[in-house]
Symmetry: C2
Subunit: 475 residues, 2 copies
């Protein structure tokens, strides 16, 4: 009975049925509870990851409540009526996570409204001259031309990056004012009201974002740059300790976290670009003065991403190498039990040499030490640079570490070049292995396209079905 516990209620009688319904309900309840708890944990994680998110949510609530209260203060806005709602609308749409983002959106909204309002009033005056019949036609033509031109301007990259929201508001305001068939005097009064309420909305947003726990895009950009350098350093440190160090490489190198730490650096471009765009609009704050060189962070980011890309190549090479060596080792293990001498196990280079017990042990040790030194010194330099950015001090000892790394790399290069045979094949070997990596990845792409062809029901090519070659690509 204990074993068949779950199936039992289905075969039992009335009492059982009722208890089964209860059980079902209880199970549903439990499932609901656990999924609610899971959702709660997820929310908690999001909040803990960056507590400023909670602050931002409360700030939006605060700004919106402030603006709504303005609406209730009758004496102040009594004669404006429904226009006050534009202030609420502005707050909802303009309020962004960072000060710079809010500022850009607010300015875009204010200036676009102003410009479009003027243009629309002008269009109205012009259309007025054409009499009652011509007016709607002329206005419709104006709306068509302006909306088309403004929409096309959004495809210009510079406009897209900075004024995308402004262009939307420009089209919106122009159409709204042009379409509404008020008299011009009334229009001007309305436009004035609308602009004032929008200004009130933007001001509320700015005051809330700047004075209540501000989130500066510039500061985030600054921290992102330092964090990216730290991640690059982490990769090199992991390389040093796991591949070239005293204890490495372990059995299961592929599962090590450090081999994937550069991935988030690779995808940081979009975040960086928008933060840098926002940061340029922020007023001086903290240690960031007026006309702070924000664009240099983008240069630094581009270099970091290129470095991460090289790390990806190295990591994928190491993973391929370890995999093939583990297979080779395990098969060798049975044939030559005594192959696993201490040095041979303890380093990546040794892994390579384990297939050739007669290999040059001295060179293996030298290469291991040199690779370890290169990694460690580069990592130290990166840590120092990251700390320098964080503390905003001139990096002092990074150069020492850098020159040590360069010296070690040169010495290793020279040592490898000392033996003529080695020097000769070194570059050929590197190009050949990188190309082989490309082949492996191209093969993966081919498999992915095959999967796509299957699930998307691609046709077989009609003229080729006869001579369709199916060759099993070696695995």
């Amino acid at each position: 009975m204990e074993v068949h516990h779950q199936a039992a209620p289905a075969v039992s009688g009335g009492e059982g049925s009722r208890s089964s319904a209860g059980e079902l309900l209880a199970r549903c309840g439990a499932g609901l509870c656990s999924s609610v708890a899971g959702f709660g944990r997820k929310l908690g994680k999001i909040a803990r990851d960056d507590p400023r998110r909670v602050a931002h949510s409360l700030k939006v609530g605060l700004a919106l409540t402030l603006v709504s209260v303005l609406y209730y203060v009758r004496p102040l806005f009594n004669n404006w009526g429904l226009s006050t709602l534009w202030a609420v609308l502005t707050v909802v749409v303009v309020m962004e996570y960072t000060v710079g983002g809010t500022l850009i959106k607010g300015l875009n909204r204010a200036f676009a409204t102003l410009a479009a309002g003027f243009l629309a009033v002008g269009a109205h005056k012009l259309a007025d001259l054409c009499g009652a019949k011509g007016e709607p036609v002329l206005l419709a033509v104006f709306v068509f031309l302006l909306a088309s031109a403004a929409t096309f301007s959004r495809f210009i990259p510079e406009v897209k990056a900075r004024y995308d929201y402004g262009v939307t508001i420009f089209i919106l305001t122009f159409s709204l004012v042009a379409v509404s068939s008020y008299r011009v005097e009334e229009l001007i009064r309305l436009a004035h009201q609308r602009f004032c309420t929008i200004a009130v909305g933007v001001a509320t947003c700015l005051l809330t974002t700047v004075f209540v726990i501000p989130v500066w895009a510039g500061e985030d950009l600054h921290k992102l740059a330092a964090a990216n350098l730290d991640k690059l350093a982490e990769f090199l440190e992991g390389l040093e300790s796991e591949c070239f160090g005293e204890n490495g490489p372990g059995e299961n190198l592929e599962s090590k976290a450090f081999l994937y730490v550069y991935k988030s650096v690779l995808h940081s471009k979009a975040t960086e670009d928008s933060l840098s765009n926002f940061a340029k609009w922020e007023p001086p704050h903290g240690k960031f003065f007026f006309r702070y060189p924000w664009s240099q962070y983008q240069n630094l980011g581009a270099l970091s991403r290129q470095c991460a890309s090289s790390m990806q190549a190295l990591a994928s090479y190491i993973i391929t190498l370890t995999k093939s060596q583990v297979t080779a080792n395990s098969s060798l293990h049975f044939r030559h039990q005594r192959i696993r001498e201490p040095c041979l196990i303890y380093s990546l280079t040794a892994l390579v040499f384990s297939q050739h017990p007669e290999a040059n042990l001295e060179l293996c040790l030298k290469a291991r030490t040199a690779c370890g030194e290169i990694s460690l010194n580069s990592a130290k330099a990166l840590r120092e640079l990251s700390a320098a950015i964080r503390m905003m001090t001139v990096p002092s000892s990074a150069k020492t570490h850098m020159s040590a790394a360069i010296k070690a790399a040169r010495t290793l290069g020279a040592e490898l070049a000392e033996d003529d045979d080695l020097a000769k094949v070194m570059h050929v070997a590197v190009v050949a292995s990188l190309l082989s990596e490309l082949v492996v990845q191209t093969k993966k792409i081919a498999e992915s396209v095959d999967n796509l062809a299957k699930s998307a029901h691609f046709k077989k090519p009609e003229e080729d079905t006869q001579k369709d070659v199916v060759i099993n690509v070696g695995s």
Copy 2:
């Protein structure tokens, strides 16, 4: 006088001054003309690059004009008055470049308005029970709580990706309805009107995007996948002809376009993600059926980006190699004139061997041929895969090319491994060179941080100023 032509007007008398003012005006006019012409050329290029952009701009104009015309048709919307403006607003905000984008925004707007409207009417009824004094306070509390909670929900990645716009509209509608102090019956009438006008706006947008020259996100995603594969193939083809071919490598390899063609693939993630998000919402069209496996394009894209990343590593290695070899060659050129034998000039591997005239010529030729074969066959496979995606046919001969490339890579590997000395150092050499690449890039990062420290006026570390080490990092 001819020589001092530009400076002359400044020192001459009245007649000269007048002509100088005229000249200045003419120069300004010419400058304006040339910048206007430049801007026109830029716009022309944007339009020629993708003529659908012009179509989209005209479509936005058309949809907006259609909706405005509705406003003028008095008998239809006479009793709705100002609410009709919401249709205009909806068209401006909802109209996106692709069908999927418009659909997502339209659905988000419609459902968020509906949900928020119901909630707000409920809140009003609840607040009504608290009397005239309690009502505004309770409504303000509701607005605060709901806006905070909804804003926080935007930090959940899934909500951010799909419902970001919906959440904005939800907050907006709830605040607008809650704040407006109408009676509940009037509210329901207003809500009904607003929803209907929004539906009219969304319908106008959808009809225009679907029936007038539609831009399908799915089709763009499909084409992007094929184009990315073509770019990868272009790199490999360039490699084959410029580095391992009969005519290569040329003098100035660094300036070749093919060495940078993978860059746009590296940064295609954001576009791909948004297109795939839109494509999932699009109705079946063309060859893309209901529940088409769009997510597989994201897998393929991830693999393409990893391949591009490996290409970047290979390209930067080749560039470094060519630079150092060109320097070495030119210095060698004077010492050993007869070093530049045909084979030695004609291949990248030869470039390597040019430092060692006594090198194994046979291996050099073999490696060159093998590398060329690997590149060419991989490129052919990629072209075939790209064509298969474009034509939506099962790739038939890609496997043949793929296995040829794999075979060539294996043969080369085996040949290099035949010589025990070569096999021994091959992996060490690869890891060492990849690490050296990392060192070069780390050095660039260090220089970039130095520049930042200078232009951002970073402080010197106080305790370290005494022992501040300035070591000239070797160049």
